[in-house]
Symmetry: C2
């Protein structure tokens, strides 16, 4: 059985068992080395990348389907995962061009397969250090990219990432961004780098420290991060109880 046959077989299975005409695209954000990252997969046999995505089983909730896609690519469960936009334009991208770039028999126009696909966008925030990027049946590779240095993307996925980033910025104050993107232990300057990476502008270290401290959402550990050619910063971890309270009160403001 050639890969091409397998692919056709795959689309037949999807057409039988999944909701037709609706798909998911997941923008998975991570944070590493002062940069905001996004997880992409490389389409099999090509140099084209795209967002991890998938279909929804007929008896599965849409949120659960998004969780499943994320688990398959990252190995993580219980992620921070959130709807952000339904991409439903009548013509979202150049189907012909995309088909050629994917170098694969695509099911478009086959009768059972719809000629256009509506896609629900989810974004996820994950701890970069805990992710094991894993390719799937349709892809050769799965890897992180700097959100400001993206490769050539299939479909309208660049636009989807832009909308996700815009949403992330708006929700920075109301959502547990730090909690989900940082590793368990981290320093305050590292957390500041995350906020700076998301907002795209520098923040004042003293004001950041003061603000974070005033929220009582962090616990200082009796450990320091050593190795840098400078004063060793303290390590912190989130105080979950107080973090929840601060979120409910909408106090996490860095606009």
């Amino acid at each position: 059985m050639t890969y091409s046959d397998k692919l056709i077989n795959y689309y037949e299975t999807v057409a039988r068992e999944c909701v037709l005409g609706l798909s998911l695209d997941c923008v998975i954000f991570g944070f590493h080395d002062t940069r905001l990252k996004v997880l992409l997969v490389r389409w099999r046999g090509t140099k084209e990348w795209c967002l991890p995505g998938g279909f929804i089983y007929k008896t599965e909730s849409v949120d659960a389907a998004a969780g499943r896609v994320l688990y398959e690519r990252t190995g993580l469960t219980q992620l921070f995962l959130q709807q952000f936009h339904l991409f439903g334009d009548a013509v979202r991208y150049d189907v012909e061009n995309t088909w050629q770039r994917q170098k694969m028999p695509m099911p478009f126009g086959s009768g059972t397969w719809p000629s256009r696909t509506i896609s629900m966008g989810y974004y996820a925030l994950v701890d970069y250090t805990k992710v094991t990027p894993t390719a799937d049946f349709l892809s050769d590779e799965c890897d992180w990219f700097d959100v400001f240095e993206l490769p050539s993307l299939l479909y309208d996925h660049r636009q989807i990432i832009n909308v996700a980033l815009k949403t992330l910025r708006l929700q920075l104050n109301w959502q547990p961004i730090g909690l989900n993107l940082m590793p368990e232990k981290f320093t305050i300057p590292e957390l500041q780098r995350l906020y700076e990476a998301v907002l795209g502008r520098p923040l004042d270290a003293r004001n950041f420290h003061k603000k974070i401290s005033s929220l009582s959402i962090l616990t200082r550990l009796n450990e320091r991060r050593t190795g840098g050619a400078h004063k060793s910063p303290y390590l912190y971890q989130f105080d979950l109880t107080n973090y929840q309270k601060a979120l409910v009160n909408g106090n996490l403001i860095f606009v």
Copy 2:
């Protein structure tokens, strides 16, 4: 041809021409007599109400489909219309119970019709005075209801309205709520009633007046609203240029 036959015919047409398994529900907010209103339709031959909704033609954008549904129920075009949530639980409501309450042959389980429906929620803000509520093929009646005094609703539509209201409250500061819900000319106390209706709590008249004035988004007209047994308030209208600026700056804050 009986109505029942027509209904079956309708669902067959939808199955042929529309995206299957995905529908729209529109929460249309209006403001009248100091109360926040929502537009509902009464299911034909029953006392059950539900949100105006519809399906998406295969070649139509989802946003355009929502605009179409709204036009059909209100007669308005160019409405403020916004996605707010995708309702995609595997089991959203008791299908059997709903079917009985609708007293109609429903297409569920007919083979071509999917056994579950995912629904995209849109909310719209409209000028109550300009709306002509119009029933459709599936409904006997279309009318406004106080958002806090809703009748018995089909499906999970009460929950959808709750989510829409929550979204509206969150977006009160960032979206042109007043511009879309108020008639062309209005008084500042009337605008204050709208904010109070959305937020569900009273606001201080002096602070409200001061805040609104400081934004320079209103133009005072040389007219007053007469007829009340009290001092006649000035009429105002929105200064669109400055309104847009204030929105971009995120200044419209009444949290």
